[in-house]
Each structure stands twice: as structure tokens, then as C-alpha cells.
Symmetry: C2
Subunit: 315 residues, 2 copies
């Protein structure tokens, strides 16, 4: 049995701990196809926030409290960069995390694609699932915002980290998506999948950039595997992060039903066959999609594994 998961950062990472546990129970293999739209160059280093969140979390090295980066992190480099007034000062690189970025940047500069770099990094972290970037090509989420000087596009990281989304926002643009192709292994994984799970990640800036890779979306929508999504919205609010702000930008309703409809039924050009919502959202209606309610709080690995089991029963 082969399970493919589309995942963003921390929500996707936590969900994957449950998928991994479930897969161990039933003897399945897991491939996580991870968003790269958040990737950026900071201080000359290539950062891949979502891949790292998944890798650190599954490798047992993530900072669970902060929700990103490494446990036991230190900040000597950040403090020094600030003393040099090195831009951007609003983005903090942890010392431990920075070593990952150094290795990644060096391998990329040496000509290795991001998928090969990710595999090399995972040799250390042993995440227990196969991690693939959605694409090896440049696919960067930019955000068109309103400023005093008119509209301009800023990198997603600047929108998210510097502005916390608190800036008049027009739209998200996935720069490079049109020309991007799925990373090696992605189409094979989707072709061999028995089920595809859409993690409870931000639908607008985590899952959408994955689906923006044309060949990837086609393999998903045209594949034989059922696609089951898990709602990142519980009781009208995101469990974590700023999905509410992102949904507002694209004019979608911030609700379990709203996100289900945003993804849409596969038979009508969307991506979902099934949609798992929280018990508090029981009754959410997504026309053309089988909806089931179950507790969706990923409070620990047991609860998360139970969620995954429920999602699998929707197939």
C-alpha cells in the first residue's frame, strides 16, 4: 500500500507523524509531496521552510512550542547579522537551522536538484517517509500588496513574517508555476498511490502552490487513487497560522465547508473525493464530495493517527 500526502509546513508535519504511525501499523509506504512556495534566499542561503518543518518534525528535532525550526535552537548568527544591519533583519535564522541551509545551498550551487538535496539531508534525519519537493523548479509564492506607492509584489516570507499578513493584500502569485514540472518521483508516487491525502495545511499558500504545478495536478485529478482532504479549519478558524487571512484574500469562506468547496470535487475539476471535517463542523456540505466528521485536533500522535485512520475509511 502506498500513501501520498500533500503537505505544507507545521500542520502538514504534524499530520505526517500520524500518517507515519498509521503506515507502520498497516505496513504502508508514505511519500510526502511538500510545498516549496515558501522557499526563499535569505542572507544568501536557500531556505525551504516547509521541507525543513516536515524533516525536523519527523526527525524528532523540531521545536514543538515555536512551531518552526529546531528544538534547543540558539541565535548567535542572527544577533551578529543584526549588528551588521544585514538585510533582511526581520527574518531570523537559528544557528542549528542555518547549518541545514548551508548544506542545502552548497549542494544546490554544486548543481544538485532540491529533491536530491532533500534526500541527502534526510539521510541524517531519517523521517521514515519519503520527502519530495513538489518541484525542483523555482516556484515562489509572491503576494501583491497595496502600498502608499501603489501595488507591488513581495515575497511570501515578507508578507508572512514581516507583515504578519497585516497589509492590504490583492492576491497570491505562484511565480514560476506555469513552467514548473513535478520533482523526480512525484508522478511515479501519484501513479502508484492507493490513496492521496491532502494534509490540514493552509489551502491557499501551502496546498495551492503544490497543485499549481501543472503536471502534478493532472496526475492527481486523473489518477486512480481516491483523494481525501482533511480540513485545516475547525469551527470557522484555522487551527494554527493565518489561513483565515489567506482565505479572505481570495474571497473564500473561512470554514470547513468553504475550504472543501475551494478544493472542489474531483469529478468536476477539483481535487477531492472525500473531506474530513471536525465534529464541531458536522453537517458541512461540499457538493460532490463525501464529507465525514471526526475529531481533528492533532493534540498528539495517537489522536493524529486516529484522524488518519478516519481519513482512510473515507476511501
Amino acid at each position: 500500500m502506498h500513501i501520498v500526502v500533500l503537505a505544507g509546513g507545521i500542520g502538514g508535519a504534524r499530520f505526517l507523524t500520524g500518517v507515519r504511525a498509521y503506515a507502520r501499523e498497516v505496513g504502508a509506504e508514505v511519500t510526502a509531496v511538500v510545498n516549496v512556495g515558501d522557499d526563499a534566499i535569505m542572507h544568501g542561503l536557500r531556505i525551504s521552510p516547509d521541507l525543513d518543518s516536515v524533516m525536523y518534525t519527523l526527525g524528532g528535532a523540531a521545536d514543538a512550542e515555536r512551531g518552526w525550526g529546531r528544538a534547543g535552537e540558539t541565535w548567535a548568527v542572527r544577533q551578529e547579522l543584526a549588528a551588521y544591519d544585514a538585510q533582511p533583519t526581520w527574518f531570523g535564522l537559528g544557528d542549528k537551522d542555518l547549518a541545514t541551509h548551508l548544506v542545502r545551498t552548497n549542494m544546490l550551487n554544486a548543481g544538485y536538484p532540491l529533491s536530491a538535496v532533500t534526500e541527502a539531508l534526510c539521510a541524517r534525519w531519517q523521517p521514515g517517509v519519503r520527502l519530495l519537493p513538489a518541484t525542483d523548479d523555482r516556484l515562489e509564492t509572491h503576494v501583491v500588496v497595496e502600498t502608499d506607492e501603489g501595488q507591488r509584489a513581495i515575497h511570501f516570507q515578507e508578507w508572512w513574517v514581516r507583515h504578519r499578513g497585516d497589509i492590504p493584500t490583492r492576491r497570491f502569485v505562484f511565480v514560476g508555476a506555469d513552467a514548473a514540472t513535478p520533482a523526480p518521483g512525484v508522478l511515479d508516487a501519484l501513479g502508484n498511490a492507493d490513496v492521496v491525502l491532502v494534509a490540514p495545511s493552509n489551502p491557499v499558500v501551502s496546498i495551492a502552490p503544490i497543485l499549481a504545478v501543472p503536471g502534478l495536478r493532472a496526475a492527481l485529478t486523473g489518477g486512480r487513487a481516491p483523494v481525501i482532504g482533511i480540513s485545516p479549519i475547525i469551527g470557522g478558524a484555522p487551527v494554527r497560522g493565518m489561513a483565515d487571512k489567506c482565505l479572505a484574500v481570495i474571497g473564500a469562506e473561512c470554514s470547513a465547508a468553504g475550504v472543501g468547496r475551494l478544493y472542489g470535487p474531483r469529478r468536476e475539476g477539483g481535487v477531492l473525493d472525500g473531506w474530513l471535517v471536525d465534529t464541531s463542523d458536522d453537517g458541512a456540505d461540499v457538493p460532490g464530495v463525501t464529507v465525514r466528521a471526526t475529531p481533528l485536533w492533532m493534540s498528539d500522535e495517537v489522536a493524529t493517527t486516529a484522524m488518519v485512520r478516519d481519513a482512510m475509511e473515507l476511501t
Copy 2:
């Protein structure tokens, strides 16, 4: 009054604290022309060990005990890089130091020459003297060594840090020296100099790579300013570092007189007009060069300043 100092790393840095103190007393300006032969790319970052030693020392941020790098340094990144088995594992980048390399690397990649980068970094450290790299061009000291598979050339850092010079060594090569030109400001500084001091740095791998820049050497030997050297050898041994091993490689005597003769008298194609040796080396003879003996231990800034005063009296 304008003083130009040719300097390597830690020996040059300590000497410069005395030159700076002397210059403040007499109202002189100081330009340090610093060796870049030790420069290397480590983990994708451009390191300039001698420039940094001088910058940190004069900026009051150097680790005096260790003799290189930053005081209060931490090593989180190094530990992580080792955990990734990222090569080279024999070269340790401190966290604080690494921020300097990030800023430098980014500026170089953005197209700024090393001299401009150095000036930008010094805006923070306020060294009180003008720091110039000998050249903005690539000039790297490589070392031809004997291995089981025959001769091969390794970077100076590998010879120095990894092998501690304990490897059969044929010669030093200053890669790129022939085509290198002095960094902006170097020729002007030498042209306007009232005196040029050769710091008690390693003559073979710190001062020689500076003098290997053709236009720089010509400006020095053909200039109007007297050139006074300070011996890095006291009583037949280097004060610090591995000048003895380096001198052995080129077949020069490891003594105050030996190094003075290696530099040679300016009137005969060498660089020296005067040569300051330690009192224990009183009587050292360098034909064609005025030799004077004085205490050369740079135990503190007062002692070092006295050395500089003695050197100035040789002019």
C-alpha cells in the same frame, strides 16, 4: 604623516594595535595592507582569516587566548555541519564569525570587491586604521605536498589547519598572483606613505603573498618611503604560528638574520631599509640593511607601541 603596514593575521593584528596607539600619539594615519592568501571558500562562504583577525583585534572583539576568531564564540553551526558530515569537517566556523562570512559572501556575490566589503564590515568594527586587502583579485596560497599518490597541491588552510604543516612539503604557490593587481587604495597609500612597516608576520605565507602582487611590490621597492621590517623570529623560533616550518620549506634559516636576508635590502632588489630584531638576536647581520635590536615581545599594547616607536627611529 602616513604609515603603511604590511600585515598577516594574528601577529599583524597585534602589531597594528601598537601602530594605532603610536599613530594616535603623533597624529598619523595608518593603512594596513593585509594578506589574502589564506582566503578560502568554506561551506560556500568566503572566509578572509587575516583581514578578520586584524578587524576583530582592532575592533576589540578578537579571542586573545585562541588567537583567531571572536571572543565569546559559540559553535552550534559547526556541530550541526559535522552532524551532516558536511565537508570539510576539519575547518571550524564559529557562529559569530560565520555572520561576518555571510555578509562578506553576499556582498561579493552581489558584485562588490573585497576592498569595498572590508570597508563595509569595518563600519561596524571601527578598527581605527584603514584596512585594505592586498588585492581584490583571487590570490590563494596553495601548498605542493607529497602524498602516497605523488605530489599534489592543497589549499593553504588544509595544510595549516588540517595537517598542522606536518606533511612532506615541496613549496608554496600563490595562485593568481601573476595576474593580481593591488586593491584600490593600496598604490595611493604606498605612494603617500612616509614609512612602510613590515609587521612581524609569517614571512613565507603572510608577507610573501602580499609582495607577490607585482604592482604592489614595485610600488614598495620603488617608493620614497623607507621600509622597516620587524622580525617574527625571536631567538631562532617563531613567536607564534609555524614560520619555522614554512621557512624550512623554502630553505631559509629560521632566525632573525635569516628572515632579514630573505626579505633582503631594498637597494639590491629586496624590500628592507631597516630591520628590527629582538635584543636576544642582537648582532644579527643583514648586509645592506640597518639592523637594530629592541625587545620584540608584544605582551601588551604598551610594549607593542614601544616596538613601533623603535621601528620608526630606524627610518
